[in-house]
């Protein structure tokens, strides 16, 4: 366009002139938006690459079967590092005892807490915590979302309820942790247990679940409700058949965010559900089936916290930290992926 030879008619001049103010502003805004996005991407990439690079060294190995099975299936143990016949050896506690007995030698070893063995109990505990807490949060959350969006009368009280739910989302997680301890652990006498952790975590994500579910229900066109009522449906039938199914993808989206938070938060379970170390797996040594709910568990985020903040740091603990973080990311991604796939399937079923 710049190579136009013929003189421009005066009315066309403005089309070819210098960039106008609006155009320059637009360019700046666009660059700003792009810079912001790239900055966030760079930060996320730095974190992920760091965890993946260092974590992969713990989780994977060069020899067959290429995955460090012991790390995924064993409990955390003390690591013994010692010299034996001129060779430097690393051994987890259980192996070390056997070794000591076999050789009969008196070996002086350096010990590193939590740095040997694996994180299997933490994986189990985290999965149990996530599943239970999300089940509670989705049940309570969807029920109250139905009430707020379909049954309640608009007005000041409803607005106050909405506002307090939103505010609850901003409460620091440690406050939920302390609330959970006061309420479930002490007042209800559940002690440090799965069920106390479930409710504490569920309460923490309830605001997210309620507001996202309510939004997705309110986005369903009123026409669908009217149509089903006009065909002789009761209000509940109409909600069950024409609101909930179509709101499900939105509800699942909220649950994806919820899962990530429930799995990742340390503060709420610190006082309510998590043990730093426990020998038995949750299903071992139960007297009654319901004892399952009333026992503490190990959990990945708490384990990361313990390993990186509660014990002296060295190269061995660092391996454990990165390996745990790696596995943790993997599990959260897996659960989130399941929800996303489920959502895609539902969306396909109800194509708008």
């Amino acid at each position: 366009m710049q190579t136009t030879q013929t003189p421009l008619p005066p009315e066309a001049e403005s089309l070819f002139g210098r960039p106008t103010r609006a155009k320059r502003t637009e360019r700046w805004v666009f660059m700003l938006i792009r810079a912001g996005t790239y900055f966030i991407l760079a930060c996320a990439a730095a974190i992920f690459i760091d965890i993946f690079y260092k974590g992969a060294q713990t989780v994977f190995q060069l020899e067959f079967p290429f995955i460090n099975v012991e790390f995924l299936t064993d409990s955390p143990q003390t690591l013994h590092v010692f010299e034996y016949e001129g060779e430097k050896m690393e051994m987890k506690d259980s192996d070390f005892r056997v070794f000591k007995e076999e050789t009969g030698a008196s070996i002086v070893s350096q010990t590193y807490a939590y740095s040997g063995g694996g994180i299997w109990p933490c994986i189990v505990g985290t999965v149990l915590l996530v599943v239970g807490a999300m089940a509670i949060a989705l049940t309570l959350g969807v029920l109250s979302a139905i009430f707020l969006s379909e049954y309640s009368k608009p007005g000041k009280i409803l607005n106050a309820v909405r506002l307090s739910i939103l505010n609850l989302a901003g409460v620091p997680s440690i406050v939920f942790g302390i609330f959970g301890m006061g309420m479930f652990v002490l007042a209800f006498g559940w002690n440090v247990s799965l069920i106390a952790g479930w409710f504490t975590l569920a309460f923490m994500v309830l605001p997210i679940v309620i507001s996202a579910s309510e939004e997705s229900m309110r986005a369903i066109p009123q026409g669908l409700r009217d149509a089903s009522l006009a065909l002789g449906a009761s209000k509940w039938t109409s909600i069950r058949t024409n609101v909930l199914p179509y709101a499900m993808p939105g509800i699942l989206t909220s649950s994806i965010i919820g899962v990530a938070r429930v799995a990742g938060e340390t503060a709420p379970i610190m006082f309510t559900a998590a043990y730093a170390l426990r020998d038995q797996l949750p299903w071992e040594g139960l007297e009654h089936w319901y004892d399952l709910f009333f026992q503490g568990v190990m959990a990945l985020p708490y384990h990361i916290y313990v390993v990186s903040a509660k014990i002296p740091q060295n190269e061995y603990t660092s391996q454990m930290q990165y390996g745990t973080a790696f596995v943790f990311l993997f599990i959260v991604a897996g659960i989130a992926l399941t929800s996303i796939l489920l959502r895609i399937r539902m969306r396909r079923k109800y194509r708008w």
């Binding site: 009368k153 608009p154 066109p221 026409g223 669908l224 009217d226 149509a227 089903s228 009522l229 006009a230 065909l231 002789g232 449906a233 009761s234 039938t237 058949t241 024409n242 179509y246 109800y350 194509r351 708008w352």
Partner: protein, 280 residues
């Protein structure tokens, strides 16, 4: 009806005793809907003033009038869809369908709405297959027998003049149909619960002329079996499809008469002014 299984034998509208027995169906075109001295409010604002009206069986009655005149409000009162609006309330007066006061507290609105079907201004098929759209009303009554459902789908889609166009793709989404087809699907869906009365709230306002003509043709055919009340902004449409026309203005029923009478020689000055296009 060949599908009279015991599931869909109509239940009495009012389930307790001392209900005025409906008169035997001897005279054709007896009055089916009686509205008397009806006052209706949205909050403090009165939407309908002392409406008196009688709607005859198997006739098409058109409600016309400028926007906000209360015609849709009255229509939605006939199957109590206004119950859904929190601030809506009845001042005084009654609406009775088939001799039963539908605002009697014993009336089951679910049963009422099965008898008084409704087609909305904006076509609103469910985001389900065409088949599931039609049988929705039966499914929620717990009818699952495939033969009954299949038969209903065919009968209602034929009744709504849609069968030939969709019979090969009953499994596709109702939303994949064109606007006019969607509206006829909504009519088919309403027919499936076998109503006596069909309320239509500006059913053609979002349709092009060809689709409108099809729906109007359909209304003509449906008249033989159903009592139809249609709200319309389009006066030509009222003239084309209806037997009786009611003109509303500012919440009052100004005039109601045979359609020819209203359009040729209305009694009231305001009616004449409106239909000749001087206001509204």
């Amino acid at each position: 009806m060949s599908v009279m299984t015991n599931e869909n034998i109509p239940k009495p509208l009012v389930e307790k005793e001392n209900v005025p027995p409906s008169e035997p169906e001897t005279t054709p075109n007896r009055s089916l809907i009686e509205i008397s001295n009806f006052n209706f409010f949205y909050g403090d604002k009165q939407a309908l003033f002392n409406v008196d009206m009688s709607i005859k069986e198997r006739e098409v009655t058109a409600f016309i009038g400028p926007s906000g005149c209360g015609k849709s409000t009255l229509l939605r009162c006939i199957n109590r869809m206004n119950d859904l609006i929190d601030i809506a309330r009845i001042g005084s007066g009654t609406i009775s369908v088939n001799g039963v006061d539908i605002y009697d507290e014993r009336v089951d609105t679910i049963e009422l709405r099965k008898r008084v079907g409704m087609v909305f201004q904006k076509s609103n098929p469910f985001p389900k297959s065409i088949y599931e759209n039609v049988v929705y009303g039966l499914r929620i009554q717990g009818i699952t027998r495939k033969s009954v459902l299949d038969e209903t789908v065919e009968r209602c889609l034929k009744g709504a003049a849609l069968w030939e166009e969709v019979k090969d793709r009953l499994d596709t989404s109702g939303l994949s149909l064109s606007g006019g087809q969607q509206q006829r699907l909504c009519i088919a869906r309403a027919l499936a619960v076998e109503p006596d009365i069909l309320l239509m709230d500006e059913p053609c306002s979002a349709l092009d002329p060809v689709a409108t003509a099809k729906v109007e043709e359909l209304i003509h055919e449906l008249k033989n079996r159903y009592t139809i009340v249609i709200v319309t902004h389009n006066m030509q449409q009222a003239a084309r499809v209806s037997d009786k026309t009611a003109f509303f203005y500012l919440g009052e029923l100004i005039e109601m008469n045979a359609t020819d009478q209203i359009f040729m020689s209305p009694d009231k000055e305001q009616t004449e002014a409106y239909i000749s296009g001087r206001f509204g």
